[in-house]
Symmetry: C2
Subunit: 683 residues, 2 copies
């Protein structure tokens, strides 16, 4: 037998050859072929159609060589990475006011001091993150910083917090974007949930196509929003100046709750959602033009400064114009109406707000899969999150994010105010761990100015820790308990996954890699071990239910190896066994036959037990079970045939040292030919 391996390169095209001589492979070197694009298409017709549809929606596949890391200039980075943080002003101040309003008109006056506290927090966080960028000039998220400096559990908690944060970023940003739309066009309000779901799916589709993160088109909404919001603040202050900065009195509101410290803290916790997204720059440093850390620092400073200006301006203006949260229209939309009237300027503000919020949701589609792939690389997440799709996107992570965000969005029917309480816990937990990690980092490193750095990050850590506790406690019954339950659960799953991969890596590791074929000892225990071909002693078993071409082919295949082989027949009764034995003798009795009478008509369990008993009798043998399987031309026809082969395959999988061989017998090709020649159903 000479398989003539040297001759078959490049192989002739086969199925595709029916239509055109498509080159499936080209020879690159001896023993090396390169698959062309047609070779990546599935064989089956249904598979081909599905791939065709996929291509239409997501575009043609990209070769691995198309991976390129585009570097962002600072203004683009500010827009792309800042969208998450800057867009928070659309819901953060509103969430704060919505809590204060419960305390009545008097409580609303506290919005200015609370906002001041938030600004202090933001500046402290900005300073902290500047330190992180200095310490990790090549970029590092909370997961890496916490793992590096505080150990794997801290890293996993930070990761779980961030994962929940990304899911909530999508849900909250989309919900808030839809609010911006329905504030301007109330007739869409009843369909908010559907619109939001559509946006999430559109974001998924766009990201699966592999939209590049950087680029002018992604910078546009953020700058449009900045223009709009600053115009709003400017015009608003001019108008307020014209009336001598006299606050307009808001309509009197009856307090439904006492104005306690708890209420104030709750309002502060709600407002803290404005901080989400501040960590984006330190995560994304590799995407900056070199020197990365310097560009990053500048961008972060700009981002925080803009945010401080906007927050301060907006909250003051809301106070001056006497605006109070009410259902059906966002505070920002009310302010827009108040300042711009109902014209084009107002419409522009709402459109820009909506777009920047959707862009903020889009950032999670980059961050969530990237974090999961980093974790999968560390064996903390399923490896499927490492898989790069046709379009070079981390498909599985994106789909997972979409599913989780959609579930969350629909569970809360897209109501921003219901989602907000879940939001801040995860982020601030990650912030705290990351900042604490930085403290540990400086402490250990003892570099120049380490004392100053410890103080800055220590302050950040202390502040964020306090905020985490405030958010967790004051929002507990509103929904933060969901996140507080989800995070430890997630950490548990991550640890479980890691321990599984640990086990697998140990089990699969090749000991003595260079000489294993010659010296590997024959292990006495049951451990899975490396074997040499000489150590494999075969026994082939062929279960046979009837004597026909398919079973005879399986027997011929088994016998052709010239190793000990026998056949097994399961009969429902003594008579059945006797009858089969007669047929067997008539056929020629070429192979030894064992019969098992199964009076309860079971087939799979007795065979499994029999093979297992065989293995324990002779554990030195590798038992190969040769199964014949009828493969019909159409899938539905499978229903007309016994599923025993596939059930047997499933039942035999857990048995040790048992190899399962399928010898398919195709019913299609024969049949058509015979039917045409008059021997088929008509004959």
């Amino acid at each position: 037998v000479d398989p003539a391996l040297g001759q078959f390169r490049p192989p002739t095209p086969s199925r595709f050859g029916r239509f055109a001589q498509v080159q499936l492979f080209r020879a690159e070197a001896p023993d090396e072929l390169v698959a062309t694009r047609p070779a990546s298409l599935p064989e089956s017709r249904l598979g081909g159609v599905l791939v065709g549809i996929k291509r239409m929606v997501f575009g043609p596949p990209l070769p691995t060589s198309a991976v390129s890391q585009e570097r962002m200039v600072k203004p683009v980075a500010l827009a792309v990475l800042g969208s998450d943080l800057l867009s928070s002003v659309a819901y953060g101040p509103e969430a704060m006011l919505a809590v204060l309003v419960l305390g009545g008109s008097a409580a609303l006056g506290l919005s200015l001091p609370i906002a001041a506290a938030l600004l202090v927090l933001m500046i402290a966080l900005g300073a902290s993150y500047r330190q992180t960028i200095r310490a990790y000039p090549s970029g590092a998220g909370s997961y890496v910083v916490a793992s590096d400096n505080l150990g794997r559990y801290a890293g996993l908690v930070a990761a779980a917090g961030l994962l929940s944060d990304y899911v909530l970023t999508v849900a909250v940003s989309v919900a808030s974007g839809v609010d911006a739309l329905t504030s301007a066009m109330p007739r869409f309000a009843p369909h908010g949930a559907v619109i939001g779901l559509g946006v999430i799916l559109a974001l998924l589709a766009g990201n699966l196509r592999g939209i590049r993160q950087a680029g002018a088109i992604f910078a546009a909404p953020t700058y449009a929003f900045l223009v709009g919001i600053f115009a709003l603040i400017l015009v608003g202050f001019v108008q307020a100046g014209q009336r001598g900065f006299q606050p307009i009195t808001a309509p009197p509101i009856h307090a439904t709750e006492a104005l306690t410290l708890f209420l104030v803290l709750r309002a502060f916790a709600s407002g803290a959602t404005s901080m989400t997204g501040i960590e984006a720059v330190s995560n994304a440093l590799p995407a900056f033009r070199p020197p990365e850390w310097r560009s990053g620092l500048t961008t972060l400073t700009w981002m925080v400064s803009l945010m401080v200006a906007i927050l301060a301006g907006l909250v003051t203006l809301i106070h001056l114009d006497g605006i109070v949260p009410r259902p059906g229209e966002t505070v920002l939309s009310q302010l827009g109406h108040e300042v711009f009237g109902a014209g084009m300027l107002y419409a522009y503000l709402q459109a820009a707000t909506m777009l920047v919020l959707f862009l903020a949701a889009n950032t999670a589609f980059n961050d969530f899969p990237r974090l999961l792939s980093v974790m999968a690389h560390d064996d903390y997440a399923p490896r499927l999150f490492l898989r790069v799709g046709d379009r070079l996107a981390l498909t599985n992570g994106m789909v997972t994010l979409t599913v989780l965000a959609s579930i969350l969005f629909l569970t809360f029917r897209g109501r921003t105010e219901a989602l907000i309480p879940l939001y801040a816990v995860g982020v601030f937990l990650a912030f705290t761990l990351s900042q604490t990690g930085m403290v540990a980092h400086w402490w250990r490193a003892h570099g120049s100015h380490w004392r100053k750095s410890v103080v800055v990050n220590g302050a950040g850590a202390a502040l964020t820790a306090v905020v985490t506790v405030i958010v967790a406690v004051t929002k507990f019954s509103d929904g933060s308990w969901v996140t507080l339950v989800a995070i430890p659960l997630t950490v548990g799953v991550l640890v479980r996954i890691h321990s599984h991969y640990d086990i697998v890596n140990t089990a699969l590791s090749v000991r003595e890699p260079s000489q294993n074929l010659s010296v590997a000892p024959f292990p006495s225990d049951e451990e899975e071990h490396e074997e040499t071909p000489e150590q494999v002693h075969h026994l082939i078993v062929v279960p046979v239910s009837r004597l026909h071409l398919a079973s005879l082919r399986a027997l011929a295949y088994a016998a052709s190896f010239a190793t000990p082989t026998f056949a097994v027949h399961i009969a429902p009764s003594e008579e059945g066994a006797e009858q089969f034995r007669e047929q067997w003798t008539q056929w020629g009795n070429h192979i030894r036959l064992e019969t098992i009478v199964s009076p309860y008509r079971a087939v799979v369990p007795p065979l499994t037990h029999y093979l297992e008993a065989l293995h324990y009798q002779r554990p030195d043998l590798t038992i190969t079970v040769v199964l014949y399987e009828l493969v019909p031309a159409h899938h539905w026809e499978q229903l007309l045939h016994s599923p025993v082969a596939s059930r047997l395959r499933k039942a035999l999988r857990p048995l040790p040292d048992l190899v399962i061989t399928s010898v398919p017998f195709h019913l299609s090709r024969t049949s058509t030919r015979r039917a045409h020649s008059g021997l088929g159903p008509a004959g």
Copy 2:
């Protein structure tokens, strides 16, 4: 290598041995084992639990030897086989009146002549079926009679008609039984659909346990019903006699339709549903005590006589008592109230009616699977309907019947009057074909009295044909179109199934059965053919993604056969290929390695195309693909591993002359041991 086949009998118990030394097999003869009950239990824990639950519900499995054909004495046969026919009086007359009532009070007077016509039809049918019993003394249903005498298509149409009839018998009888209940206890009326579904499922459960058809317990409801109904008629007539047989005038009813011939025919068609079940005796002759045909004749005569008496008595009494169908209470219940008042006698009548109707539904659970198994034996139905379950019941047929009947029942929300129009078409179609078949039979046989027999069956055929047309036409828009569409569709499916099995049988048939191993020529075309071991020329291909113990074991397994073997690696890029090749050389380069660079990162399609190209290059080789598969300890862990092996197996199935071998690598056993010895996740 000596597999020592002679020593391993009886094999020592393995897994079960942990708990107790359970004997799984005992040796019956050389080369023959008999599996004990524990050997029929699945290996897996989940499987064991499921089987345990199944055993609790359905009882322990019965050995094949427990099959026994109980023979029924005539009184039991009358009750068991007659329940379907006799219970029809619960809905037949009511269905007729429900149509007549549309023609107003005047039309109701026509109930007596229509009933008379129905009686004539019934007597004619009874006479016809007596002939069938004489001609087929060992029993034959419409399917057999029609196939035998009119060809396979007539047989299939009859079979399709009967199948639809059995499904409707369950739906209509259960619906009507629930009506009997809710008439007496109206508070259950809103839950009618749920109760009905519960009854259908209870019937399934009972039949899956393998309730024997014959037996006194099954005779009881029929006799109880007969006692009740004759008491009703007797007391009713006595009461009517006391007032001089003066009909009570029904409340005046406004006609909603003109009293046309069409309306009368529609009423007749509805009343004809009383005829369903008359064929039971001729189907079930083998279940009678010998001489079967004589017992059958007597039973049939009794059945028809009882039915004629009841129908005549009931319709007359309904007329005399001026009872009119109305929603919420059946006619029979109204009559019961009228005659017996609201006491125990009335309750007894309703209970007996309900039970006999459920018993009638139960008969379909015997007939439907039996017909399907006969058809499966003739290759007209999927072979899975031949499978005898643990409890010797035709499980698959029963489950199919339950699903279809439940769908029908729920679609029509258990309303008897909505189901009735679908009912009669199938039965009368089967009647017509069966009677026509009998005419053909007598005509061909030309036995003694053949002219008389032709006349009797001819009359039956003509009558039933007319009724079929009447039912089909007058009930078309009410629902008989459903059946008229379902029957040809079913026949189409049956024919398609048959042609598939025909193809399979031809394809699998062994030519030259006694000498095939020596003389079978090597076929030049692509047909699947019988091979001898000497004709099999091997080429083994081992796809390898990484070098670890699992892939090395697959390579060792493949190499141990000492046939041409090579490995294939799919790399996403040139660099990846180069890197793997280096590892391969380092490992020792024991086996030739092919690499395929797949720039689009696809794995399964390029490999499939490659193997197909290989096959077309060298069609004389049998290519064996050896795949290693990681088998984790828990099912959920499978999610943490690549599904490539199983996807590859699926994609390779359609390829010709390709054998797929799975070498499993178990992660569980190794891992636990290593984890305990400190090398696991903690290490």
